[in-house]
């Protein structure tokens, strides 16, 4: 059991690291994928352990939503590219007041 959780924590850590350090927006999106998959692993692991199918159903939902989210994220990236001619995250500071 703990192996699954360690794997999940590792994937989550890699994902966070990617999201924070990558400058390319596509890379950041990939990192977010890793974060979500870490959560999926967790859910499967607990569902398996407690012998409960609800967790697995959740994972299916998560996967479906992830797909939508990535599509949305890529659309945003394209729009940002049109606006700023770059996909480098540190050059996008539209939130700055």
């Amino acid at each position: 059991m703990s192996n699954y959780l360690i794997l999940s924590a590792l994937v989550f850590g890699i994902g966070i690291f990617t999201v924070i350090t990558r400058r390319n927006a596509i890379g950041i999106l990939l990192g977010i994928e890793l974060l979500l998959n870490a959560v999926n692993i967790n859910l499967i692991a607990f569902a398996f352990m407690r012998d409960n199918a609800v967790g697995m159903v959740f994972v299916l939902f998560t996967i479906a939503i992830t797909v939508a989210e990535v599509a949305l994220g890529l659309a945003i990236v394209i729009l940002i590219f049109r606006l700023k001619k770059t996909v480098q995250a540190d050059e996008v500071n539209l939130l700055r007041g």
Partner: protein, 616 residues
Amino acid sequence: MNLNAQLALWTFLLPVLAVFILTVVYPLRRAGKPAAYLSILAIGGSTLLSVWNLILVKANPVSISLKYHWLPASTGSLAYVGFWLDSISAIMLVVVSGVALAVQVYSLGYMSHESKASLGRYYTYHSLFATAMLGLVLANNLLEVYLFWELVGVCSYLLIGFWYYKPEAARAAVKAFWVTRFGDMGLIIGIILLWGNTGTFDYQEIFGLVENGQIPMGLLTLASVLVLFGAFGKSAQFPFHVWLPDAMEGPTPVSALIHAATMVAAGVYLVIRLFPIYENVPMALTILTYVGSFTALLAASLATRQADIKKVLAYSTVSQLGFMMAALGVTAQMASYFHLFNHAFFKALLFLAAGSVIHAVGTNDMFGMGNLSRKMKITSGVFMAGGLALAGVWPFSGFFSKDEILVAVAQSGNTVPLILLLLTTFLTAFYIFRAIFLAFYGPKKEEVHAHESPKVMTSPMIILAGLSLVTGWFGGDFEHVVHPGSIAEIRPSPLPWISLGLAGLGILTAWTFYQRRKTVPMALRGALAPIGRAIDKKYWLDDLYELMYANILLAFSRLIGWIDRYLVDGMVNLSAWATGQAGSGLRGTQTGKAQDYLVGVTVGLMVLIIIGLGLR
């Protein structure tokens, strides 16, 4: 709601409707004449309804007080609005709507040279004034009265400054507003004092408390004297009289309506309305008697040396209001009210006739007129009727009410006020006939090309002249209307003869000096010279006020201005500056980059987890 209440309500609501339409439908207002007709239609309807109402009330006296909730709160309404219809307010409704109707019809002629937009504005103000004045008359509580009180003040300001491009008019409007405002401060403090100690604004509830002696005497005296300040300000009594003569810068019909017949009488009306309070406050009564009679003489003396025909009438109004106040002081409130009633008609008449002359000649200066009676037969005739009524000559209305006042003052045993008022009677006859002889008789001025005014102006004057001939005979009815059942006692007294004699003497004096052009004997002239100088300077009162204003008030204002600018604003600016500095200091942390925020979130989460683990 019974018929009387409905009639009174609609008397009030018709001008409200007119002013609403004229305000909202601006093309109508800018069209001029149609706006005038709408306004006249509304006030004409009000006049009919109020006369009908008065006839009903006279046959069958009522006292209806309607109350509606206003400012609802969890503990019940904070205030009520409503109206109180009884004989007193029913009479005043007729006076206000009737004079307003006459003046508005007359204005069609007098203001015919105005542009369309300006005429529409004029009639909108007139409707607003009618609304406010009728509301003031009907009000049944002090808060409501205060609201309408200020509203008539605003209308007065707007109409005095109607020709706002004339600097004197703008100045006079501000002066009128300022001076009455000064009195109104007393009024509002008085109202708050009464409310704070009784918890009600309602007239009748306060009267009940006063009757049962539930309000401490000291407080009652203070509050009622403060309310008197408001009444003195509005009715231009000493020391607040300085605004009324300047208010003559407005159009003459406005002077007739607002500054002679109705608004300036509001102060007297308020005291009459609150008389159940005042008759229990001896000090307020003493103040009323002395201020009233002193003002009467002061203003009458000032009227004797004016060259401007409107200023003569303005001071005469102040003087007559002084008569009414003095009568209130000797608890002759009905004589006072009777005089108010008569005065409203004959003084409005005098102003309208003066307006007719000014309209024809184009100047206010009486020395620029002369022998106008040839060319303006109707105007000079009605002016003469008004003058005789003002001077108190039998059988004109002024004779009856003025003598009731004199008899009441004599019976109360106040010798000094009686002497002041008798002197005023003499001066009144003198100054009004001085005006008549200067303007309508005497040598003809070559350059004056006068013509009689159009019918639209003369017919209201003729009606008012008829009224000032007949209203005096209603004296007995008046007592009856106001005190149902009681018959006015006939009090034999030599005073009517004395006052008639004094009036005759005044007329004779005016005739000698201004018609026959007899020069004043040298000795008399020497004796009178200092008084004349003092009068020319208006007893230095205006100068004194200006001095007080320039030195005391402005210095005080500057001090407050300094404190406001550097202490109060300083503190506000300091906190604004500190906030700004803190903001720009913290600005650096907000990079606008999503990743930086995420670092913060992650680190924060980790710290929380570590703390959580540590706590376990």
